[in-house]
Symmetry: C2
């Protein structure tokens, strides 16, 4: 029998954040692709598009007008997925297997910049910093509203990720419940904290306990050259293709020097460092296939900010701030990975190893391809 | 406060098979869609395509030839996601958080019919029955191979579901491990059997214990006219949009008259009945938007068939045979639901209620739109 080689032998890896596995079939990347190719993305977008409802001063589908703005703009989604509290109580279940739980909350849209043709990858660091400051503001504001239990900040970028408008923007959904995935992550982080005796010199979580993510990233940064899953890092943040990545070029982005439970716990420097690495990651993504790289991005952190004036640690501090990037492209600007069939019915499967993906992203330039002359 | 109305008030429903929630936002279906539309599907496909590697006698990408066949054909995938056992042993984990598990097995392709232009929706009942018989055969064959722990039968249909060839075919992946989703379902079915005192007259699972799916479908068929989640049923099978459906027109298809742990436990009549309802479901799907309806379909059942000659019940009989259909279309042949952003980072969200979806599918004809003159 030959020796196990992760780049040759199919295997599965375990994701301790979700308790799920991913099947890695590295050799499969060689098969010819005869399936759907993505339409080319719009290039040469105008700086202002009179038909874009996110450009300053234009009218939206609901009839309301988008304000004139200079930096960022936040407004309530005209087609929100949830409605403000209070709502009617849950009806009794017609059968124990048919449970209903009312959900209330609010949905906001955050425009990153007035220019229609830009993306995070093409914004200046001060402009990205303004986006981060808006995230902090809305997280604090929504997170302290009555009846809200969770604030999800995310971005859908690119038509192939269901984004209906290229104007740079993200969303914030604030809900009366903690959704499935972050609830699972928090449960697993708590469980890790309670059951792990820490021997490494990684930063610790609340109550001096082990933090799974601090521990994981400490290991990855320590073996950086060897393991090769780190894509880039700066003073406070590291971007890596996690051991258990599902999407071909998935990235986990997180602070690694100390345990940080939410964006509002970042220092001013930590926020600048965040802006810098967001810029680098999105530029490298665009450079990978010389296109505006589609992805879904989400921020996971404490379900809610600490109550005003609170000091010291609490249970929710078990969360360690991190961002997931889920980009679908696999081989080129037009060939994506479909998570279908086996993936939907059994288990996610990937066609190149996380180490190979990280290597590809490391070899990309930090200078955006559109800025190279 | 008004009364709770599932078609008006956002709420979440619980999926007891997976322990996950889905956020239902029915009013959201009204928003205008300005995003990506799917390219029209190929129409007027030839009965034989000289460039199709699944048409009888043609050469495949790997260089091998597809046999000449009259009904169905099964062959090993030229680009299998797993390789046959035995493989090298797992290396030791470099850190407890970085677990590797080697996976072995085989991947088969099952061609449903020699005609390039047909789909399940357009096959005759005897032809569909032949597909079912092939599923039984390969499930028994692969499932009794040394080192195999699980057999996943599935179909990706349509370019938007990552299917690279319209020639009617499905896949069978046989693995040395039980993948995440079926493992979770089986865990939850076991747990239900052990903790539920059954009072209804639903069929019982092994050892006279409660079967979650028998119980669920018994309830749905019983309240059929009222709840409106049943799409169609026949002597042995029922197709319904489950209470916890994620995809807009998701269907759960299962036998409801007795507990059946795998396709090989179906009687001859049960298999004919299966062919008939597969035909009805796929026809209604096509009729919904007058197009060849894309979906991923998967069969969940006992991880492996019973060992040859075994009699009586065993632990794995806790599984109740069922098929999931996960179709992406939402509003028309070209507007799909994107499960992105919030869905990937937090929790699946749907824009119409399962009851509304079932109503739409009930109102579709059983005669394929291409056969209406
Ligand atoms: O094997 P195929 O049909 O070429 O590939 C398709 O199905 C596989 C199994 O669901 C997926 O992993 C691929 O992403 C998809 O494109
Ligand atoms: O609200 P948008 O951007 O129009 O819609 C997009 O993001 C939502 C949240 O991730 C998804 O539910 C939609 O399917 C997607 O099209």
């Amino acid at each position: 029998k030959s020796q196990f080689d992760p780049a040759t032998h199919p295997h599965r890896r375990f994701n301790p954040l979700t308790n799920e596995h991913v099947l890695v079939s590295p050799h499969r990347n060689k098969r010819p692709w005869l399936g759907q190719v993505e339409p080319p993305q719009p290039s040469n977008l105008p700086q202002y598009d009179p038909n874009c409802y996110l450009c300053p001063g234009n009218t939206r589908a609901g009839g309301r007008k988008t304000d004139i703005y200079n930096d960022t703009l936040i407004f309530e989604n005209d087609f929100a997925a949830v409605l403000p509290p209070p709502g009617p109580a849950a009806p009794s279940a017609p059968h124990p297997l048919l449970q209903t739980e009312p959900v209330q909350g609010g949905c906001d849209v955050l425009i990153f910049h007035p220019r229609h043709d830009l993306t995070l990858a093409r914004l200046s660091l001060p402009d990205i910093r303004k986006v981060i400051d808006e995230w902090c503001k809305i997280y604090l504001q929504r997170g302290r509203e009555e009846g809200i239990a969770y604030v999800q900040i995310f971005e859908n970028k690119g038509a192939m990720m269901g984004c209906s408008n290229p104007h740079p923007h993200g969303q914030v959904w604030s809900l009366s419940i903690v959704p499935t995935l972050p609830a699972t992550e928090i449960k697993n982080l708590k469980n890790y904290a309670l059951t792990t005796t820490l021997e490494s010199s990684a930063p610790r979580g609340p109550y001096g306990r082990a933090c799974m993510l601090c521990e994981y990233v400490h290991f990855e940064v320590g073996v950086e050259s060897e393991s090769g899953r780190v894509v880039t890092k700066n003073e406070h943040w590291v971007a890596l293709v996690p051991w258990w990545a599902v999407w071909p070029f998935e990235i986990l982005l997180l602070p690694y020097k100390r345990h940080i439970s939410s964006i509002t716990s970042l220092t001013d420097e930590g926020k600048d460092s965040f802006a810098q690495i967001l810029s680098t990651v999105t530029k490298r993504y665009d450079n990978l296939f010389a296109c505006s790289f589609a992805y879904s991005m989400g921020i996971h952190q404490r379900p809610l900010p600490r109550p005003e004036g609170s000091e010291g640690e609490d249970e929710d501090d078990v969360a360690h701030l991190h961002l997931h990037f889920a980009p679908p492209l696999l081989r080129s600007a037009s060939v994506r990975k479909f998570l279908v069939g086996f993936e939907l019915m059994a288990e996610p499967q990937r066609d190149l190893t996380p180490e190979q993906a990280a290597q590809r992203l490391r070899s990309c330039s930090d200078v955006h391809y559109l800025d190279v002359d």
